[in-house]
Subunit: 160 residues, 2 copies
DNA sequence: CCAGGCAACGTTATATCATTACATGGAGCG
DNA sequence: CGCTCCATGTAATGATATAACGTTGCCTGG
């Protein structure tokens, strides 16, 4: 389960593990994990939240990288295409994947208070959506499953 | 089930029924279903697909209505707030609800070929997403559930 | 009646998100 | 070398969405 995003944890483990997995995957699949792409993923790995493309751009600039919009969007396109990152449609923003390399249909829990995002999983063909699709002969190619609400921590803070 | 969106049907029934239901709901709940709001919903009811805000604006203009962006966005905000329409996050566009007045957690099947959109339903608390949320104490307030793919008709056309 | 509040609407400007188009440069390869 | 391919640099623009402020019309209490 993706609860870790909302909990205090040794985040360097998330970061290191992901970078290693992505490195390995790119090696195996002959993908160019270039400096810009690496830098963008590193930025996104800093926190379990969604990053706007222009927010990433600002970070790139502050690190001395030249950065017009296509620079960020091209890196994000690569990362999303290979499932190293996902787009959160509700936020028009992007988040690093918590277990890259595995093909999956991600689902997200977005806390509207602390803005952290947890990645969970669904079996697209099962469940109500799959049933509805099957019933009318609709062929699902991609799913967007996002829930907005309050994580346990923020909920407790509100209730006190 | 929302299969009707993808099928040939007497669409005037959809339109008339929806407008009557919205009229009744607004009457009951003391909501102002003003000419602009009515016009926007009428436009959206023309087809079972998602409409961009600027597309709606163009239609308003062509009907002689003054129409700067806030005109469309304010009408859409009203319609979405009261569940007479929904936003399709994947498309950054809006669609008329197929059964207004009932509070519900809609799910959408979006055909990438004919661009029609069907509205299905989910029980947000049940299902995998609800289970994942419950497991980590996440309180869901809103869900975005959208599937992109091919409807039966377009699929058949492709296969031949 | 009329003053005040309120919701909707008109309008300008601007913020935010994303892409097109074309030029440049380096790696691999015959 | 000359070619192709892919990644990158950069300018311009397109597409989506909101802020801010003024105006209008209606309702309501005094």
């Amino acid at each position: 389960m993706g609860s870790i995003s909302f909990e205090i944890h040794d985040h360097s483990v998330c970061t290191d593990k992901t970078m290693q997995e992505v490195d390995a995957y790119c090696e195996t699949h002959k993908l160019q994990f270039t400096p810009i792409r690496r830098k963008v993923l590193t930025i996104m790995l800093e926190e379990h939240r969604a990053w706007g493309a222009y927010e990433i751009l600002d970070r790139l600039r502050s690190e001395g990288q030249s950065a017009q919009p296509p620079v960020a969007y091209r890196a994000l396109e690569f990362l999303v295409k290979h499932r190293f990152a996902h787009k959160i449609e509700r936020l028009n923003a992007f988040i690093a994947c918590t277990h890259p390399g595995q093909h999956h249909a991600p689902a997200f829990l977005i806390c509207r208070s602390c803005e952290k995002v947890a990645e969970a999983h669904t079996e697209p063909s099962s469940g109500e959506l799959g049933a509805a699709a099957e019933a009318i002969g609709f062929h699902i190619e991609r799913t967007v499953i996002e829930a907005v609400g309050l994580c346990a921590t923020c909920r407790d803070a509100t209730t006190q």
